[in-house]
């Protein structure tokens, strides 16, 4: 019998990630939503809450735009934005509504159109002003991006990986390239990934340099995509069919954190402490430990980021991320497979969809429906995202006991 106190994923869907020139954000969100409802065996009229995220679409109210295509039932809509953690925030919002007893069913959707977006950087540098005039919180007389550090995402996350290397050693250009090699290799088994091509370490290292040590194939792939999930209360799930109960996935932990103040955190974003805090709370909520995880989807927005999160999620001992990777643990046949979907580097990173798409991946393994890339007998998995600013989402998912 499903745990009545828990919130469960009843249905989940992700679109193919990649280029969808003929579809707009509403088309993609609708495709993911209708897919998730069909997977759950329920209708839009059953939903009691909708949480939706779309970061760069520009339009207001993606949730309401979506309702106008898939069903205007008058339910509350929460349009959420939390950088790259937007999808996880949408899911967490739906989970909170169900957990609070406001409704039995909730829907979470994340969608992004990002194909061809190019480098995610700060603003273009305009010509300097006619007269030097201090502006803003730093009294800057000129644009500081490129003059006082960098605002490009590949550059910020490169420094995050290098800082780990400075503290613990061993984090070489080649090591980061080998992390990317793993994720690209994994993606060859994922038909929904934006890219399904294996690269050699040499090819990755000699690819176009973006921000040392991140070359192009070590950066997340900009693409279009959407993902949606239907969540249900445990008590309601008990009234549904045995087939629905069998395929339901238990959300054993749902955690969202921001970065607590520490020295330097306003100088270079600290993505470590808030991830460690989220993971600690999640393991406690779920009553499982890192050693129990059969697979992990973590936020490899850049190869340099994946390394630090081995440590932050406590998959290895503190300071041991390099050795952990070297041991082969995070390959799909290792002890803790990480990013068997291909990760953001190869599956792709349609920003607001990512925090639900990684849950989709874990759910498919737990349901035994992951096809060629199935991790055998997977029972527990963890999904992690981080958005700069910062926000971190960690969900721990477990196979139904039915």
């Amino acid at each position: 019998m499903p745990n009545a106190d828990a919130v469960w994923i009843l249905g989940i869907h992700m679109t193919k990630f990649g280029k969808h020139p003929d579809k707009d954000v509403v088309d993609l969100a609708a495709e993911a939503t209708l897919g998730a409802l069909a997977d759950a065996g329920v209708k839009m009229k059953d939903m009691g809450v909708l949480a939706a995220g779309n970061l760069l679409g520009g339009g207001l109210g993606i949730g309401q735009q979506l309702q106008k295509q898939v069903g205007q039932t008058g339910i509350p809509v929460y349009n959420v934005a939390n950088a790259c953690a937007t999808g996880a925030t949408a899911l967490r919002t739906a989970v909170m509504a169900v957990k609070a007893g406001e409704c039995d069913f909730g829907l979470a959707v994340g969608v992004e159109k990002l194909a061809g977006a190019g480098l995610l950087a700060g603003k273009d540098r305009k010509a300097d002003a006619d007269t030097w005039t201090p502006q803003g919180r730093y009294g800057a007389v000129a644009s500081v991006d490129g003059r006082i550090g960098t605002e490009t995402m590949p550059g910020v996350f490169a420094q995050i990986g290098m800082e780990y290397g400075h503290r613990y050693g061993g984090a070489t250009f080649e090591l980061f390239a080998r992390i990317a090699e793993k994720n690209h290799a994994h993606s060859t088994l994922n038909p929904l990934a934006a890219y399904q091509k294996r690269f050699t370490v040499d090819e990755i290292m000699s690819d176009v340099m973006i921000a040392y040590p991140n070359t192009r194939s070590m950066c997340s792939a900009n693409c279009d995509g959407a993902a949606a999930a239907v969540v249900v209360s445990g008590s309601k799930l008990r009234t549904l069919s045995l087939e629905q109960q069998r395929r339901a996935i238990k959300i054993s932990a749902s955690v969202l954190t921001t970065d607590p103040w520490e020295e330097a955190c306003q100088v270079l974003p600290n993505v470590n402490t808030l991830t460690r805090n989220a993971a600690t709370t999640a393991y406690e909520q779920a009553g499982v430990g890192p050693e129990d995880l059969d697979l992990v989807e973590l936020h490899d927005c850049f190869a340099t980021a994946e390394l630090v999160h081995y440590d932050n999620l406590m998959l290895c001992k503190e300071g041991g991320a390099v050795d952990f990777f070297e041991s082969g643990a995070t390959w799909r046949d290792g002890t803790t497979p990480v990013n068997v979907s291909g990760g953001l580097e190869s599956k792709g990173h349609p920003i607001a969809a990512t925090g639900i798409a990684n849950i989709w991946e874990v759910c498919h393994h737990l349901r035994g429906e992951a096809g060629d890339r199935q991790i055998p007998d997977a029972k527990v998995g963890l999904a992690h995202v981080i958005g700069l600013g910062s926000a971190c989402g960690v969900h721990i998912l477990e196979k139904a006991a039915v």
């Binding site: 960098t150 490009t152 420094q159």
Partner: protein
């Protein structure tokens, strides 16, 4: 001619050029931006004093940016420098921007450079960190 202006208000050009931080009088936390209050939730102080930041430090992290937003010259080295306990963001300058010449743990010192004059003839001055050669 008008005195040169610093690129940001936390760069002080009088005397030996150096950076200043807004230091919380309650807990000692240091910030470079204009403050509303202290972000350290244990403190929440609202009083700050200007304190000089050490002009020498060690490179804690760096990246060599080869692709940046349009209009920004590349490559350049962006870094996080530990200036005797205060972390500072800045470019590494007066060094070749390649992994053979830039390394983690490298000792550096503050250096300034001209950004050019505006229409009134006033010079702006930027800062970075340059290697301390042994």
């Amino acid at each position: 001619m008008a005195s040169p202006v610093p690129i940001v208000d936390y760069l002080v050009l009088d005397g030996d050029p150096h950076l200043v931080a807004n230091q919380c009088t309650g807990c000692g936390a240091r910030y470079f931006d204009r403050r509303n209050s202290c972000a350290n939730a244990e403190c929440g102080g609202t009083d700050f004093v200007k304190v000089p930041v050490a002009t020498t430090g060690e490179v804690k992290a760096f990246t060599i940016v080869a692709f940046a937003a349009p209009g920004i010259p590349v490559p350049f080295v962006a870094a996080l420098v530990d200036c005797e306990g205060t972390s500072v963001r800045g470019n590494l300058i007066n060094v070749d921007p390649d992994p053979e010449h830039v390394s983690l743990g490298m000792k550096v010192r503050l250096a300034i450079y001209g950004l050019g004059a505006d229409s009134a003839g006033t010079e702006a001055v930027g800062f970075g960190f340059e290697p301390i050669s042994n």
